[in-house]
């Protein structure tokens, strides 16, 4: 199936230019993980709704992270005709965006929307992205904006030397530990167990990790959290203590990983950017840097005892001698 065929009535008519008629003239400026964003062309109800979700107060424009770029990625919203989009039977269907990776950017298609963003770090505050949607209700439009912004943020992190990771972030002694894994690996379970013993959970869905320049990394919380995330930590950042790849098992054990295994564990949990062949080298470079940190496998059974094993030294993985790993 070719790009956007699943969602668009006429994929070949995907807009080439970042232009069209906007539903309104409201704008919204905010920061995600220290990166500045601007949305333009919003209707008043959509702006109000999105502001409540993305920028609860003016501090959303500030971050404890060293700003990698204070320049805004400006995206404008445009009206699309309902006839531009296919009716998709969503019952029992897993929603996944469609991507067209290009040398200069990425195009996206989803349910009743499509978007395009240029993928260089902004050098001036000009419109670099566009969203076309036939949706009008504020909560539906916000869903589109969030999907789009997740992708844009993943790329801005990548261009700044960092990554956005599917992960649960838990604060232990003031530092963030990331528990990574695909859907079903146990991120939400770990987060719930952490809450149960009084640890703070930043998110159980997506977290941003950025290098500081002195060999350490910091984890920044973003509004796109999971079910158990408290909202008062949004916009803050914490030193990254370690990363654990979750492997559900009968018992609890930490396993040290070789360098390649570390990177292999990480590349699977970098959503959106890990399938982009145009920026593959950049991702690998960033992950090689991140893999210099403490990255281990964590076999765990669903009990709070799993946090006990984090205090003990791991043993070397036993599967490194085989050709197949």
């Amino acid at each position: 199936m070719s790009f956007a065929e699943q969602f668009l009535t006429h994929p070949s008519l995907f807009p080439e230019r970042l232009s069209g008629e906007s539903p309104g003239e409201q704008s919204l400026r905010f920061s995600l993980a220290g990166f500045a964003f601007a949305l333009e062309g919003l209707s008043q109800p959509c702006q109000t709704h999105a502001r409540a979700r993305l920028a609860r107060d003016e501090s959303a424009l500030k971050s404890s992270l060293d700003l990698k770029s204070s320049l805004e990625l400006v995206t404008r919203v445009f009206i699309a005709s309902p006839g531009d989009f296919r009716d998709v039977a969503v019952r029992g269907w897993q929603y996944a965006l469609d991507f067209d990776y290009r040398p200069d950017g990425v195009s996206l298609a989803g349910l009743h929307w499509m978007a395009r963003s240029r993928l260089s770090q902004p050098t001036e505050s000009s419109v670099q992205g566009a969203i076309w949607t036939s949706l009008e209700r504020p909560e539906e439009v916000y869903g589109v904006l969030e999907n789009y912004l997740r992708v844009c943020l993943a790329y801005r992190c990548l261009l700044a030397g960092g990554v956005m990771l599917h992960s649960a972030a838990v604060l232990i002694d003031g530092k963030a530990s990331l528990f990574v894994g695909r859907s079903g690996a146990g991120k939400s379970t770990i987060a719930k167990l952490a809450v149960k013993i009084g640890l703070e959970v930043l998110s159980d869905d997506l977290n941003v990790a950025l290098p500081t320049g002195d060999g350490t990394w910091r984890v920044s919380t973003i509004p796109f959290t999971g079910d158990v995330a408290p909202s008062d930590k949004c916009g803050q950042s914490f030193e990254l203590a370690g990363i654990y790849r979750l492997d559900q098992a009968a018992g609890n054990q930490r396993i040290a990983l070789g360098h390649a295994e570390k990177i292999a564990s990480l590349v699977t949990v970098c959503p959106y950017v890990n399938k982009d062949s145009h920026r593959e080298s950049l991702l690998w470079t960033n992950l090689e840097s991140l893999a210099a940190l403490d990255v281990q496998a964590l076999r765990f059974a669903p009990s709070t005892e799993v946090f006990e094993v984090l205090r003990h030294n791991p043993r070397r993985g036993e599967n490194l001698g085989k050709i197949g790993g």
């Binding site: 360098h259 990177i263 699977t268 690998w284 001698g321 050709i323």
Partner: protein
């Protein structure tokens, strides 16, 4: 498991990406959403998979570079490559 003959030519599937990291290697299969880390010998074997060399030629090259008997190399490599073929990471054709 498919056993790969020495005159077979292993090929990389279009969605397969392979990267050497230090002495090791990482295979990423986009379609299968699978990532596999391999050791130094596995990485060298895969770096020689170019759609032109036969398995026999690959084993000869690797055997010259590493201090390992041809029997051991063949015994370890053929099942390894067969697994990758079975999992859709590699293709194979016979010359």
């Amino acid at each position: 498991m498919n056993d790969i003959a020495l005159n077979s030519v292993p090929t990389r599937r279009p969605d397969m990406r392979f990267r050497v990291v230090g002495d090791e290697g990482i295979i990423v299969s986009q379609d299968q959403a699978e990532v596999i880390a391999v050791n130094e010998v596995g990485a060298r074997v895969l770096s020689l998979v170019d759609g032109e060399r036969t398995l026999g030629e690959i084993l000869t090259s690797v055997g010259e570079e590493f201090d390992v008997s041809s029997e051991t190399l063949e015994r370890d490599t053929r099942p390894f490559l067969s697994e990758l073929v079975d999992s859709g990471v590699l293709g194979v054709h016979v010359e």
